[in-house]
C-alpha cells in the first residue's frame, strides 16, 4: 500500500492508503474530517470541495495517493480560531444554507472564487458556482452570502 504524507488544516499526517482510496474518503474515514461531504459519484455536485495547495478541488475526483506531499484545507480548517471566515459569516448572515449539506463545498468553492476575483458581479458569482449543487436554497441567498463576504473583505483590506 502506498504511503502518503499530507498536511491537513495545519497538521501533518502520514498514512498507508489503499491505491483505490479516494481523497474524500481518506479525509472522512481516516482523518474523521466529516465536514467534507459526498453528494454524488460523478464529480458533479461539489459537496466534496476542499483546497489542495491553495486551489479548490473536488476531493472525490482524485485518489488519496495523488495528494501525497500536498497541503490541504477543509471546511474545518477555514476559521481562524474562534473567528469565522468572512464567507462562513456571510452564509449565516444571509441565510445561505438550509440543510447544510452543500454548504462546506459551497464555502470552499466561493473562497477560491474570491481569491481570484475579490469583487465579483452577481453573474460572476453564479458562474463561479457552476460546479456546485444546492437543492435547498435556490442559490439566491448563497449569492448574497458571497457578496456579503466580498464586501466585508474589501472593507477590511482597504
Amino acid at each position: 500500500m502506498p504511503k502518503i504524507t499530507v498536511t491537513v488544516n495545519g497538521t501533518s499526517h502520514t498514512s498507508e492508503v489503499e491505491g483505490r482510496l479516494l481523497l474524500v474518503h481518506y479525509l472522512r474515514d481516516t482523518l474523521h474530517l466529516t465536514g467534507t461531504h459526498v453528494g454524488c459519484d460523478t464529480s458533479s455536485c461539489g459537496a466534496c470541495t476542499i483546497h489542495l495547495d491553495g486551489k479548490a478541488v473536488k476531493s472525490c475526483s482524485m485518489l488519496a495517493a495523488q495528494a501525497d506531499g500536498s497541503t490541504i484545507t477543509t471546511i474545518e480548517g477555514l476559521a481562524t480560531g474562534n473567528e469565522l471566515h468572512p464567507l462562513q459569516e456571510g452564509f449565516k448572515e444571509e441565510h445561505g444554507l438550509q440543510c447544510g449539506f452543500c454548504t462546506p463545498g459551497m464555502i470552499m468553492c466561493a473562497a477560491d472564487l474570491l481569491s481570484h476575483n475579490p469583487n465579483p458581479s452577481e453573474q460572476e458569482i453564479r458562474e463561479g458556482l457552476e460546479g456546485n449543487i444546492c437543492r435547498c436554497t435556490g442559490y439566491h441567498n448563497i449569492v448574497r452570502a458571497i457578496q456579503y463576504a466580498a464586501n466585508k473583505s474589501l472593507v477590511v483590506s482597504e
Partner: protein, 788 residues
C-alpha cells in the same frame, strides 16, 4: 408574552455547526466495530430470478454475512394509506419484500445484501454473487400498462391497476355543464417524473445491543417516530420500547425521506444477526434508482367556459404511475393530495376527476415537494392561461372574474369546495393584484410587442395557486384511508433554573426549527432565545411525533408546543398567586413576569420555575415540576395561496429559454421568521422552475433510467436563475394558535406552470399557437414547437 422575536429575521441558531463542518449526518457517524453493507440490485426492470449463488462471495476476505430473499424475503414494507376502488373494493396491495427472491420488478430492486469489514470489500463481494435472470418484457408508461396484454408487474393485479378513483360532482352533472359551455379548452399533457435529489444520499446504521436487548437505528429520515412505528409494528415485529430511532442532521428531504425504506429494516436485522453495527449509505446513482420519485401523471383535462368567461366545468382523466411497489404514502398523493385541490382559487361549479393508479416496472413514486398539489396547480393554471389565449382575453382578467371572493374564516365562513376540502381563509385577488404591480404589467406587454419583432421573444406566465398544508386532522384523513393519525407532539420542560428544553416530534432537515420554534417559545415565555433549546429527531428523548412534511411543522408541531406553553403559564400563574397571596385571576403574565394586576408586585419566570422544583411555599394539591407535553390535532388543513409570475426570454433561433424575472407573492398566514420563510420560497421556486425547464427522469423502453446521475439529470444550478422578487400578504389561519399556514412547498407548487405558461405566451406572441410543450422545456422541444 413578549414581542421580541416573532416576526423578526432572527439568524439561525443551527448554522454554526454547518458552516464549520461540524454537522452530524448519519454517514458521519462511526460506531465501534462497525461493518458496511452493499446492496446488490437488479440490472433489469423485469426478470425472474432463476438462481442466486453467493458461495464465492461468502468465501471472500472481509465478508461478514450475506443476506438474500431466502432469509428475509418474508418481511416487507407496508403502504400507509388505503384507497378503495370506485366500486368499493380495497386497493391492490402486493408485498414489497426487503429482498426479492422470485421476480425483480424495477431496475434497482434489491436482491442481496453483503455485509463486510469495509464498503469496498462489501462491493467486491457483491460483484462475485452470481444471479441467473430470465428477462421479461417491461412496462414503463402508466397509460400503456392498463392495456390488454401488457406485461403484469404483479401477477395478481389485473391490468396493473392498483385502484381507480374519482372525486368531485357526479360525472353526468359535469358532462352536462361541459355540454352547455360556449368554449372548452382541452389540454393533454404529461407531468413528468422527477427525482427529489436531496443532496445527502440516504444513509442508515443499524445497531443491536445484546446487553440491553435494544436496537438503535440512525437514519436520514424526516420522521424518526413514524419509521420506528412502521418498522416495529408492520415490518419486523420488534417491541417498540426496545427500538430507538435517531434522525440526526439530515441533508434535505423534499418528501423522499418520509418513507420507510427496505434498507432501514435490513441494517436493523443484519446488526442483530452479526452483533455489530451495520452502516449502509447509497451512492447517488443508487438514489436515482431507489429513492421514491415524484409526479408522473398522464392527463387529459378540459375546462368549459360560458360566453362571459366564467368557468362552468372541469373534467379530467389522469393515469398516475405508482412504480413497481407502493411506497409509504404513494396512494394518497394522486388522490387526496391532488384531486382535492382541483377547485383551485376558482368558483368552478362542477368538477370531476377520474383517476387510475397503475403499477409499472419503474421506481416507486411518492410525495415530492408539493405532492399531488403541484400536479393540480399545473393542470389548472395551464388551463387558465391557455384558455385566455384561445379565447383572446387577458389571463389575469380571466382569473379575477373566476376567483372565489375574499373571506377571513372568522367573520365569514370557510369556502366549501366541490372536492371535499373547506378552505380556511383567503384573499386571492390581493396576491394577483400585488404581483401585477410588481411586474408592471402594461409596460411588460409593450416590451413584449417590441420583442416580437426580434430574435429574443418575451413571454409572461401566471400561476395563482392554493395548497392544503398543515397536514392533517386525524379524523378526516382517517376517514379517507390514512393508517396513521397526523397530529404532532410538543413537550416543554422548564428546568429549575428557568432554562427551557423543548421536545418536538417535528424534524428539521433544513427548515430551521431550532430557530423558529425557539422564537415562539422565547416570546411566549418572555425569556431570551439562548434560554431555549429545541430537541428533535430522537425517539428516546422526544415522546412521540409524526415528523416533517406537507408544510406541517409550525402549523401542527408549533401549535403542540404552544399548547404546552399555555399549560406552563397556567400552572405558573397558580404558583405565583400562592406566593404573592392573591387570586390566580389577578395574575397576568407579561414580558416574562407574573404580575398582580394593577400593582408592581411580580415574580419572574425563573423564580416560578425554581419554586416549582423547590416547592416549599407552594399551593396545596398542586404537583411540583413545570413540564408539560401536548398532542395537537388540527381541526382543518391550512390553505396557503399566492401568485407567481414568470417572465421568460425565448431565443427564436435556438429555442433556449431564460428566466428574466420571477415574481412570487405568497400568503402563508402569519410569519414567525421572514428570512427563513423567504428561504423556503426560494428553494421551492428553484425546484418548481427546475421541473419546468430542466428536470425529468427518462426511462428507455427496457426500463433503464437513461439519466440516473448528476452528469445526465439536469439539476438547476446557480446561473439558471435571476434574483427572485418576493413579496408577501398575510391572511392569518383562523384555526391554529399561531395563525400560520406553512411555507415549505408553496414555491414548488406555484412556480412550474408560470414558467410553461410564459414560454407558451412568448410563442403565441409571434403566432405559434401551440397548446403544450412537454416538460422539461428543453431548447430542442421549444425550437421544435416553433417550427410547427
Amino acid at each position: 408574552m413578549s414581542n421580541k422575536f416573532i416576526g423578526k429575521s432572527v439568524k439561525r441558531v443551527e448554522d454554526k455547526r454547518f458552516i464549520t463542518g461540524r454537522g452530524r449526518y448519519t454517514d458521519d457517524i462511526v460506531l465501534p466495530g462497525m461493518t458496511y453493507a452493499y446492496i446488490l440490485r437488479s440490472p433489469y426492470a423485469h426478470a425472474r430470478i432463476k438462481s442466486i449463488d453467493t458461495s464465492a462471495a461468502e468465501a471472500m476476505e472481509g465478508v461478514v454475512t450475506i443476506m438474500t430473499g431466502e432469509e428475509v424475503g418474508h418481511y416487507g414494507v407496508p403502504c400507509g394509506w388505503q384507497v378503495n376502488f370506485k366500486n368499493g373494493d380495497t386497493m391492490k396491495e402486493p408485498p414489497h419484500p426487503l429482498l426479492v427472491k422470485d421476480k425483480v420488478r424495477h431496475v434497482g430492486d434489491a436482491v442481496a445484501m453483503v455485509v463486510a469489514e469495509s464498503r469496498e470489500l462489501a462491493q467486491d463481494a457483491a460483484e462475485a454473487i452470481i444471479i441467473d435472470y430470465e428477462v421479461l418484457p417491461a412496462v414503463i408508461d402508466a397509460s400503456k400498462a392498463v392495456e390488454e396484454g401488457a406485461p403484469l408487474v404483479h401477477e395478481d393485479v389485473p391490468n396493473n391497476i392498483c385502484f381507480d378513483w374519482e372525486i368531485g360532482n357526479p360525472k353526468e352533472e359535469v358532462d352536462a355543464a361541459m355540454a352547455s359551455a360556449s368554449h372548452i379548452t382541452t389540454l393533454e399533457f404529461v407531468n413528468q417524473r422527477l427525482a427529489p435529489n436531496a443532496m445527502e444520499p440516504r444513509s442508515y446504521i443499524g445497531q443491536y445491543d445484546s446487553v440491553y436487548d435494544k436496537y438503535t437505528l440512525y437514519t436520514s429520515t424526516q420522521n424518526p417516530h413514524l419509521i420506528r412505528l412502521l418498522m416495529c409494528a408492520f415490518v419486523l415485529g420488534l417491541p417498540e420500547h426496545k427500538v430507538r430511532v435517531v434522525g440526526p442532521d439530515v441533508g434535505g428531504g423534499f418528501g423522499s425521506k418520509i418513507y420507510h425504506y427496505t434498507e432501514e429494516a435490513l441494517v436493523t436485522l443484519a446488526s442483530k444477526k452479526i452483533g455489530r453495527p451495520v452502516k449502509w449509505t447509497e451512492t447517488r446513482s443508487e438514489a436515482f434508482l431507489t429513492d421514491a420519485h415524484g409526479r408522473d401523471h398522464v392527463t387529459k383535462a378540459e375546462m368549459g367556459f360560458d360566453a362571459d368567461g366564467k368557468i362552468v366545468g372541469l373534467r379530467i382523466k389522469t393515469f398516475a404511475n405508482l412504480g413497481a411497489y407502493l411506497s409509504t404514502f404513494s396512494t394518497a398523493v394522486p388522490t387526496y393530495l391532488h384531486g382535492t385541490l382541483l377547485q383551485g382559487l376558482y368558483t368552478t361549479p362542477k368538477i370531476h376527476l377520474d383517476m387510475t393508479c397503475v403499477f409499472t416496472n419503474t421506481t416507486a413514486v411518492d410525495a415530492y415537494r408539493g405532492a399531488g398539489r403541484p400536479e393540480a396547480t399545473y393542470l389548472l393554471e395551464r388551463l387558465l392561461d391557455l384558455s385566455a389565449l384561445e379565447m383572446g382575453v387577458d389571463p389575469t382578467e380571466l382569473r379575477l372574474k373566476n376567483f372565489i371572493p375574499a373571506f377571513d374564516g372568522v367573520t365569514q365562513p370557510g369556502y366549501q369546495t366541490n372536492v371535499a376540502l373547506q378552505y380556511d381563509s383567503g384573499n386571492y385577488h390581493g396576491v394577483l393584484q400585488r404581483g401585477l404591480e410588481m411586474l408592471g404589467y402594461e409596460d411588460f406587454r409593450k416590451a413584449q410587442a417590441e420583442a416580437a419583432t426580434t430574435n429574443k421573444l418575451l413571454g409572461v406566465g401566471f400561476s395563482t395557486y392554493i395548497e392544503a398544508c398543515g397536514i392533517a386532522p386525524s379524523a378526516v384523513v382517517g376517514s379517507l384511508g390514512a393508517r396513521a393519525g397526523l397530529y404532532e407532539v410538543g413537550q416543554v420542560r422548564v428546568q429549575p433554573t428557568g432554562k427551557v428544553s423543548v421536545f418536538t416530534g417535528a424534524h428539521s432537515h433544513g427548515q430551521g426549527h431550532e430557530t423558529t420554534f425557539a422564537q415562539v417559545v422565547a416570546d411566549r415565555l418572555g425569556i431570551p432565545m439562548e434560554d431555549v433549546d429545541i430537541v428533535h429527531g430522537d425517539s428516546d428523548t422526544v415522546a412521540f411525533g409524526m415528523g416533517t412534511y406537507g408544510s406541517r411543522s409550525l402549523a401542527v408541531g408549533g401549535s403542540a408546543i404552544v399548547k404546552s406553553l399555555d399549560k406552563i403559564i397556567e400552572k405558573g400563574a397558580k404558583i405565583a398567586a400562592h406566593k404573592l397571596e392573591c387570586s390566580v385571576d389577578d395574575i397576568e403574565f407579561i414580558d416574562g413576569k407574573f404580575t398582580v394586576k394593577g400593582t408592581d408586585k411580580s415574580l419572574g419566570f425563573g423564580d416560578i420555575a425554581l419554586t416549582a422544583y423547590v416547592p416549599h411555599v407552594y399551593p396545596a394539591n398542586l404537583e411540583p415540576g413545570l413540564d408539560f407535553s401536548s398532542f395537537y390535532d388540527p381541526t382543518n388543513f391550512t390553505y396557503p395561496f399566492g401568485c407567481h409570475i414568470a417572465v421568460v426570454e425565448v431565443d427564436k433561433e435556438t429555442g433556449t429559454t431564460k428566466i428574466k424575472r420571477f415574481i412570487a407573492v405568497d400568503d402563508v398566514g402569519n410569519v414567525i421568521n421572514p428570512m427563513i420563510v423567504d428561504g423556503q420560497i426560494h428553494g421551492g421556486l428553484a425546484q418548481g422552475i427546475g421541473q419546468a425547464l430542466f428536470e425529468g427522469v427518462e426511462y428507455d423502453e427496457n426500463g433503464q433510467i437513461i439519466n440516473a446521475s448528476y452528469m445526465d439529470y439536469t439539476m438547476p444550478r446557480a446561473d439558471d436563475f435571476p434574483m427572485f422578487e418576493l413579496d408577501r400578504q398575510v391572511t392569518p389561519c383562523p384555526h391554529n394558535p399561531l395563525g400560520v399556514k406553512g411555507a415549505g412547498e408553496a414555491g414548488c407548487i406555484g412556480s412550474t406552470p408560470a414558467v410553461t405558461n410564459a414560454v407558451i405566451d412568448a410563442l403565441w406572441s409571434v403566432g405559434h399557437k401551440v397548446k403544450d410543450i412537454r416538460m422539461p422545456l428543453t431548447s430542442e422541444r421549444v425550437w421544435r414547437a416553433m417550427q410547427s
